[in-house]
């Protein structure tokens, strides 16, 4: 937390410059780059949302695809059954994610650590299987095809994704500088101590889960509108969504504001950006980077920035506390 504050103090102009660049440049870029940018914004939103629950509150979820998928399906189902514009999904999707999130939280927050992670994983898989098999109501394995409002034009989608990404970062920033933020981090650092300080831990985990589900759902809704096609194997994917959200946050730095942003950018660049050049090996490269980071910079690029700087200055890092 200390790290956020110094960053904010020193460099409020950094976000400002990034913002101007993000608004002004994309119209001059080609379609492929715009596509990359849209994906980046989507992943920034998702990583930031996951980070609120996982990185700050310490509830490592292996099943955030539930919220992404529901966010995507909210609009998809409206379109499938009533032919309503999938844009309504921007409201229905996140709403559905929150509605599902509340009972999920009530059940899974009784579990701690890896057991919480696994129960979320089980839920994610359950959703995937149910959405694959329940053809009459949910469309089944073939998924749902909707229409693209803006045709082949990418720019409108980009700006929507940009606004949502910025909003998610802003909301998390504000939360983390209020009572909520202090309580979230307290829960992560020591749940027993937090209870002893009078923090109702389950309730505050829920306060972290709701915005997290909301923004993950929004990212899902953007995906649905942009792709105009969803299928359960993609939006409820364990390897493609749930795990990538965690690894993206991990690479950038969990429990930091900038970490998920950086991680998402790296992830999209590697996974989509260089795929054209090197083929499917790009995914392997990302995995190798993730392994090396966890082994040598376990708090991510931003979390372990001090360590990186020391390494480049050629000094040995100082370890506190034993072997």
């Amino acid at each position: 937390m200390a790290e956020i504050k110094t960053m904010a103090k020193k460099s409020w102009f950094l976000p400002a410059i990034l913002g101007i660049v993000a608004i002004a440049f994309p119209p001059f870029l080609g379609g492929y780059f715009q596509h990359l940018l849209i994906l980046m914004m989507m992943w920034i939103t998702m990583a930031t949302a996951w980070n609120l629950l996982g990185g700050y509150t310490g509830c490592v979820s292996f099943g955030h695809c539930v919220f992404f998928g529901l966010g995507a399906y909210g609009g998809g189902l409206l379109y499938l059954h009533w032919g309503i514009s999938p844009w309504w999904g921007m409201i229905a999707g996140p709403l559905l994610a929150i509605i599902a999130g509340i009972p999920i939280g009530l059940v899974t927050f009784r579990l701690r650590g890896p057991y919480f992670a696994l129960s979320m994983l089980a839920l994610g898989e359950t959703f995937r299987i149910v959405f694959t098999n329940w053809v009459s109501v949910l469309g089944g394995a073939c998924g749902i095809v909707s229409s693209r409002t803006f045709g082949v034009e990418k720019l409108p989608y980009y700006y929507i994704a940009l606004v949502i990404a910025a909003l998610s970062v802003y909301v998390v920033y504000r939360l983390m500088h209020s009572k909520y933020g202090y309580y979230f981090v307290s829960i992560r650092e020591d749940q027993d101590a937090a209870e002893g300080l009078g923090i109702p831990t389950t309730r505050y985990k829920m306060y972290a889960l709701i915005p997290s589900a909301l923004f993950t759902g929004l990212a899902g809704a953007v995906y649905m509108n942009y792709m105009a096609y969803i299928d359960p194997e993609v939006v409820f994917s364990l390897a493609g969504i749930s795990i990538m959200m965690i690894l993206a946050v991990m690479v950038g730095g969990a429990g930091t504001l900038g970490g998920p942003i950086l991680g998402a950018v790296i992830f999209v660049l590697l996974n989509e950006g260089i795929r054209a050049a090197v083929g499917p090996i790009s995914y392997l490269i990302f995995m190798v980077i993730a392994c090396l980071l966890i082994m040598f910079l376990p708090d991510g690029i931003i979390g372990d920035w001090a360590k990186i700087k020391r390494a480049f200055r050629g000094k040995k890092p100082v370890y506190v506390g034993g072997e």
Partner: protein
């Protein structure tokens, strides 16, 4: 009725009766010391009071409100703060942030919480440490930080669990002074301690337990010369010899 009433509290772990029918009442504004050999059930009694491990039977009443079935955070909100035998710092938060986390119990504003925390840090003489991450503090400061964190939530009763263990003599003096200051500010203190110099020096009244049962109660002087206490600590021979 006393300020904090503990009535016939029993807590078992499997076949082991860790706290066996303890009854005691604390008066408002006193420092009450609880001693006993290793494994005699002191920390378990604390854990029963703020419901980390609920009592199997018996009743605990604070200011006339039964708290036996209330959850830990509700009990804290009612005004019972505590520290931990094995310190539980919020490791990656700074000292100030730790204490602020405690202060948010009574306010929603970050500014007010910060002011309160700074005031408490001053009270506990931790100001110079305020921007250090809690995990890097030496043990004595971690223990003091726990007291500060708990005080920040404006408790009326504070449970101090082995605050002096692992401290050197100078550090013990500092903590003793702080505990006295806490009592003087009107907060009742319930202290569990192994370091006799500490607990004998500050307690108004004391109780000694062994095998989960009360074996002696009285002033520190009475406790120190009580044959049952000497027996529990030093063995049969010493009790007979004196």
């Amino acid at each position: 009725m006393a300020y904090l009433d503990i009535n016939h509290v029993v807590r078992k772990f499997g076949g082991l009766v860790a706290v066996n029918d303890i009854t005691v009442g604390l008066e408002q504004g006193e420092i009450f010391g609880l001693i006993g050999p290793n494994g005699s059930g002191k920390t378990t009694l604390f854990n029963a009071i703020n419901n980390y491990y609920p009592a199997n039977s018996g009743e605990i009443i604070f200011k006339g409100i039964p708290i036996t079935r209330k959850s830990t955070h509700e009990i804290c909100r009612l005004g019972i703060g505590r520290t931990f035998q094995v310190v539980k710092p919020l490791r990656r938060m700074t000292v100030l942030e730790n204490v602020m986390a405690g202060a948010f119990l009574r306010t929603n504003s970050a500014t007010k919480a910060r002011d309160k925390a700074l005031e408490i840090l001053n009270f506990c003489e931790l100001m110079p440490r305020k921007d250090m991450p809690a995990k890097d503090l030496p043990i004595a400061d971690k223990k003091r930080m726990e007291i500060a964190r708990s005080l920040a939530g404006d408790p009326e009763l504070i449970l101090l669990d082995e605050t002096a263990a692992g401290l050197n003599l100078v550090e013990i003096e500092v903590v003793m002074a702080i505990v006295r200051k806490i009592r003087d500010s009107g907060i009742t203190c319930f202290v569990v301690e192994h370091v006799m110099k500490f607990i004998m020096g500050i307690s108004d009244r004391m109780m000694c337990i062994n095998f989960g049962k009360e074996i002696a109660r009285g002033t520190p002087r009475e406790i120190a010369s009580h044959p049952e206490v000497i027996k529990a600590y030093l063995g049969e021979e010493y009790a007979k010899g004196k």
